[in-house]
């Protein structure tokens, strides 16, 4: 460790991202010592799920400039797909407790959710976003936002119309004893869902950073005309982005089916939380979204612990409004400009 590195770290610590990360880690540690490690476990599981949903949201905003209000509904589609795939599998498992499906059945359901989300994304691009993009580009952000509001209402009520409003949930994916980590018993499902989200976020990050397609996506998000000049097929990238973003939300819904049973408005809570994350962390910043996801998860868990259940919309949104007043571009920065900025 040279002296130079030290001073770089110190200056980073003084910036908004550094400060907020350090403060959240400190708060997380303090709360864990005070209330017990289960708080940390809850935070990590919720944060992993939120990271998936928020990354998809960030991707949509960054690449396509669509402020997605319907993202929670892809979460719902994922959980619904996983439910209908996993129910027959779990019946089969009951009869044949030794089959390989005991271990791998849940993965089939979760991968099914991923595919279902991607297909839903492609369909919505073909039917909804594509036509709008071809017809008009002025006032695009607001129009597409209202369009996603319509999509959200449509999907919620289609779910209610076709599948009914009751809770479609499962007891758990993986049976067996909970795993003990540092004296806390954590159910296998939670560990697996965190692992799944961690692996997917990591893969996604690598994909965006190192592959040609990922670079193309980033190029489109930076400058769409420039990307077109270099010969990137915009339509293809757009389609890919939407299906990726929706698949990310759906996989979160699928892997959390044991916590959030599928019902028409199940997506609203992840949607609110993901928007908190996106606003908090700024736009088009995947790593920022991941960090922000854990911060929002921490906020939520701590609110539930110290203020009480049901306050988990009030306190985080109040805090985020406070942050927005002082830092309108989010903690990790983005180019949002307000009236007062020159």
């Amino acid at each position: 460790m040279s002296k130079h590195n030290m001073s770089v770290t110190l200056t980073w610590l003084k910036t908004a991202p550094g400060l907020s990360i350090v403060i959240s880690i400190a708060v997380a540690v303090a709360a864990t010592i005070d209330a017990g490690p289960y708080l940390l476990v809850n935070m990590v599981v919720t944060g992993g799920m939120l990271a998936l949903v928020a990354t998809g949201l960030t991707l949509m905003l960054g690449v396509l400039n669509i402020p997605m209000f319907a993202h929670g509904e892809y979460f719902m589609i994922g959980s619904l797909t996983a439910y209908y795939i996993f129910t027959p599998i779990s019946e089969f498992i009951l009869e044949h407790p030794d089959s390989w499906l005991v271990t791998f059945g849940p993965f089939i359901a979760i991968i099914g959710a991923l595919i279902g989300g991607a297909i839903a994304g492609v369909i919505s691009e073909k039917l909804v976003f594509g036509p709008l993009r071809r017809r008009s580009t002025d006032n695009w952000v607001m129009n597409s936002f209202l369009l996603t509001v319509g999509v959200s209402v449509l999907l919620i009520n289609l779910h209610q119309l076709i599948f009914g409003a009751d809770f479609k949930g499962i007891v758990g994916y993986w049976q067996g004893m909970p795993i003990s980590i540092a004296d806390v018993y954590v159910s296998k499902d939670r560990v697996m869902s965190f692992l799944i989200s961690a692996v997917i976020v990591a893969l996604f990050y690598l994909f965006m950073t190192y592959t040609r397609t990922g670079m193309a996506i980033r190029a489109v998000s930076q400058d769409i005309t420039g990307a077109e000049i270099v010969g990137i097929d915009i339509e293809k990238i757009v389609l890919l982005t939407i299906s990726l973003a929706c698949a990310l939300a759906a996989v979160a819904g699928g892997s959390l089916l044991f916590m959030y049973p599928s019902y028409p408005t199940v997506g609203l809570e992840p949607l609110y939380m993901a928007w908190f994350v996106v606003i908090l962390s700024g736009l088009g910043n995947i790593l920022g979204a991941v960090a922000g996801a854990f911060m929002v998860a921490l906020l939520k868990v701590i609110t539930m612990e110290y203020v009480g259940a049901g306050w988990d919309f009030v306190v985080p949104s109040a805090l985020i409004m406070l942050i927005l007043i002082f830092k309108p571009s989010g903690i990790f920065g983005s180019d949002v400009r307000g009236v007062l900025d020159k």
Partner: protein
């Protein structure tokens, strides 16, 4: 944008009509609304109840359009603001023994204060971020209404005395028609003045507006405060009409309803939403009550209409009216549709 013309060859009737911001067809529509409850199928109490709901949404959509259509900021917590007005009014009547009429105005004041706060906070943000901020604000207010059980009785709801002591819905219907018209008139007066130009300039291009010497801070905050005050009074009406007030009223899905009507009616027209709300909401209520074994079907239709309008006809009904109906060859008809100054 029509400005007041002091044309000498206008007769008294035209001048009065112009002051009242009505065209002859508008006047005819208003008269039709006033005699509607005496025409046979509509004179039943349940039909009147629906019509009153139509009127409520119509008035709300005018107030909503005042912000969304002019300064181009979607107030996504609009129903929460209205709910604040409703709760203030209800609590004043219940706890302080005020007359509902005065309490309604007090509700308007409380919502105006809320609007002032939202307007001030969202000053630093633009477009979608301001929308998100008002949305978070709405979520927080709704969370407060749910959790402050000692004051609001939470999800159980408040029992509120009605405005008129009768069981009949007739007086309420006339009151809401008057409120719809008053809302329209006040908004139109403001929009017709220099202020309206300033609003539009800010909505279209803030930098250009600032260069021309318009202070966006004042106009944005004023616009927000006024539209929220309208929402507050209407929220008071809602509370004192239904006689029961639950936090459900503040839900985002209710805002979506207002938003859909405002946009289908046509943004920036003020009258579009009010005109569309009556047939549209009424049809939806019929669908909801006759096809009650298919819950959610009305909202599916709702969402489909919103999506189709957003993609294929973003100008909404008022744009359609202006381009296709407004300029007929026949002079008498043209007078009927436009009034004298066309």
């Amino acid at each position: 944008m029509d400005t007041t013309t002091n044309d000498l060859n206008m007769n008294l009737f035209d001048r009065v009509l112009d002051k009242l911001c009505l065209t002859p067809i508008g006047l005819a529509g208003l008269i039709l609304l006033l005699i509607l409850p005496f025409i046979p199928p509509f004179n039943q109490e349940y039909m009147l109840r629906w019509l009153i709901y139509c009127g409520f949404i119509a008035a709300m959509s005018v107030g909503f359009d005042f912000t969304a259509g002019f300064i181009n900021i979607v107030n996504f917590g609009y129903m929460a603001v209205a709910g604040t007005g409703g709760y203030t009014s209800a609590l004043l009547v219940l706890n302080a023994g005020l007359s509902p009429w005065i309490a309604m105005l007090a509700g308007g004041v409380s919502s105006a204060i809320l609007g002032l706060v939202i307007g001030m906070i969202s000053l630093r943000l633009r477009g979608i971020f301001a929308a998100c901020l008002s949305w978070f604000f709405g979520l927080a207010v709704m969370g407060l209404a749910i959790k402050m059980v000692w004051l609001t009785r939470g999800p159980l709801g408040l029992r509120v005395p009605r405005l008129f002591e009768t069981e009949s819905n007739f007086p309420f219907y006339f009151l809401i028609v008057i409120l719809v018209y008053l809302t329209y008139l006040i908004c139109k007066w403001v929009v017709r003045s220099k202020m309206g130009l300033a609003f539009q300039a800010i909505g279209q291009n803030m930098d250009a507006a600032r260069t021309s010497g318009i202070d966006p801070v004042f106009y944005r905050v004023f616009n927000f405060t006024m539209s929220c005050a309208i929402a507050g009074v209407l929220g008071g009406f809602y509370a004192h009409f239904y006689g029961i007030l639950t936090p459900d009223m503040m839900h985002t899905s209710k805002t979506v309803e207002v938003l859909a009507v405002a946009y289908i009616g046509g943004r920036g027209s003020l009258w579009g939403g009010a005109v569309i709300a009556f047939p549209f909401i009424f049809l939806m209520e019929i669908v909801r009550s006759t096809l009650s074994h298919l819950p959610g079907l009305n909202l599916v239709i709702y969402a489909l209409v919103l999506i189709l309008v957003m993609i294929y006809y973003p100008g909404g009904f008022s744009y359609f009216y202006d381009t296709h109906i407004r300029q007929p060859k026949n002079r008498a008809l043209r007078y009927f549709l436009n009034g004298r100054d066309a």
